[in-house]
């Protein structure tokens, strides 16, 4: 088997996930080989193109509108003022009169002082600029976070104030006897779920919310809970789920959710009671 063939499997793994995809020794051996072998480098480049295609094949999705503002606010052009100030002072320094044969040492001392002062000034200015940029970045992050909370609250108010909203109380089941929840459901605006005392999830599992209609259980979505077992969230409601709803339930399902409930019910409430 030639060296190229020997490295074929490793190159495929490396193209998909970088060095972390391989065992450390294997990754080192491959990198050493790649440094010396143009054929294998070309092979890696081609398979990386395929890997990029895998990334591009993920379903594109509109990010929230506030994110564009946040991205552009991060992009602050380099502040030319610092360099300008620095170069003006530098110019003053180099254009200093040269008829200095009278007291050359004084001039030298002054020059040194000027250089030190210039450097110090530039350092201070740079520090102030950095502080200002950091403060701006922190403020931007705060704005994004507040905007997110605001989006969530306004979606919740939409549901709670909808004329067609109905409330359903959910009671804890044997697998979660202390849990309780309330759902407000509006066929036009969506659902708000508020739950308390849900048990912590085992690894690889997630809570899934269902509207059980006369036809079948319809998945509304999956969710996790805070460390204290509480959760509040708003989610859209599909047309299927709003026709003849009979009950609302929460089950524990494998991470990622399932098309029809399989796991234990932890909360159940009957619509219209």
């Amino acid at each position: 088997m030639s060296a190229h063939q020997e490295f074929q499997d490793a190159i495929a793994g490396y193209a998909l996930g970088g060095p972390a995809a391989l065992d450390p020794a294997e990754a080192r051996a491959l990198e050493t080989h790649l440094a010396a072998c143009a054929d294998c480098r070309a092979e890696l480049a081609e398979l990386r193109r395929v890997a990029s295609g895998i990334g591009l094949s993920a379903i594109a999705e509109d990010p929230p509108a506030h994110l564009r503002t946040a991205v552009l606010n991060q992009a602050i052009p380099e502040n030319p003022a610092i360099h300008q100030t620095h170069s003006v002072i530098h110019e003053m320094h180099t254009n200093h009169p040269t008829h200095s044969n009278i007291v050359p040492w004084m001039l030298a001392a002054a020059s040194i002082a000027l250089v030190v002062a210039t450097g110090f000034y530039a350092m201070m200015a740079r520090q102030q600029a950095t502080d200002a940029l950091n403060a701006k970045a922190a403020a931007n992050a705060r704005v994004v976070s507040l905007q997110r909370q605001l989006d969530g609250l306004s979606a919740r108010i939409d549901v709670l104030s909808a004329p067609d909203a109905v409330q359903v109380k959910l009671a804890g089941q044997p697998d979660a006897p202390n849990a309780s929840a309330s759902v407000v459901m509006s066929p036009t605006k969506g659902m708000v779920l508020t739950a308390e005392n849900l048990p912590a999830l085992a690894a690889g599992t997630i809570y899934q919310l269902w509207v059980v209609t006369k036809q079948a259980p319809v998945s509304i979505g999956t969710f996790e809970v805070a460390a204290d077992g509480s959760v509040t969230g708003t989610m859209p409601i599909s047309r299927n789920a709003s026709i003849d709803p009979v009950a609302i339930a929460v089950t524990i399902e494998p991470a990622g959710g399932v098309p029809a409930p399989t796991g234990p019910k932890v909360l159940v409430g009957v619509v219209g009671h």
């Binding site: 995809a21 895998i54 094949s57 994110l67 991205v71």
Partner: protein
Amino acid sequence: MQSDQHLLAAIASGSETATDALGALYDAHARVVFGLAKRILVKPEDAEEVVQDVFAQVWRDAKKYEETRASVAGWLVMLTRTRAIDKLRARKARPDLDQANDPTPIFQASAAKGLTPEALAVSSSEAARVGVALNALPDEQRKFIDLAYFEGLSQSEIAEQTGTPLGTVKTRMRTALHSMRAALTP
């Protein structure tokens, strides 16, 4: 409309038009970057952070782009995947802390994850061909590609998690990538 390369050059120049160029690049690619980050991280707010980080890196490193030979979209995808997987690993390493810091509930529609015609339309034709080829893979191969690319698992971790011999994981992964490459050259 300016090409991606022109936009990157404008960003790299740091001139007055740099911010506008970043905005144009964002408008052209943010949907793909956000979609990929969300595919990997699921939580929308984590995906938003990745989008911010990726475009911040583009802003800083636009000059370095020429050194890479990928298309701009390919470069963005690479940056996005790397940052999202880093975040995913960090999250796995401290699940409790993560949950305590982030009590916001996440509701994720549990829709099928297959490619939609819309996704094919927005991707470049090359990516669309890879997407079709990806969907056409046998389930076993497809699963390994998903675990490696979207979940950042190493080949050994995939072998362990799926109870498959390491050699089989490697072979299937290579076979899968090679058949997708064949789809790239029609």
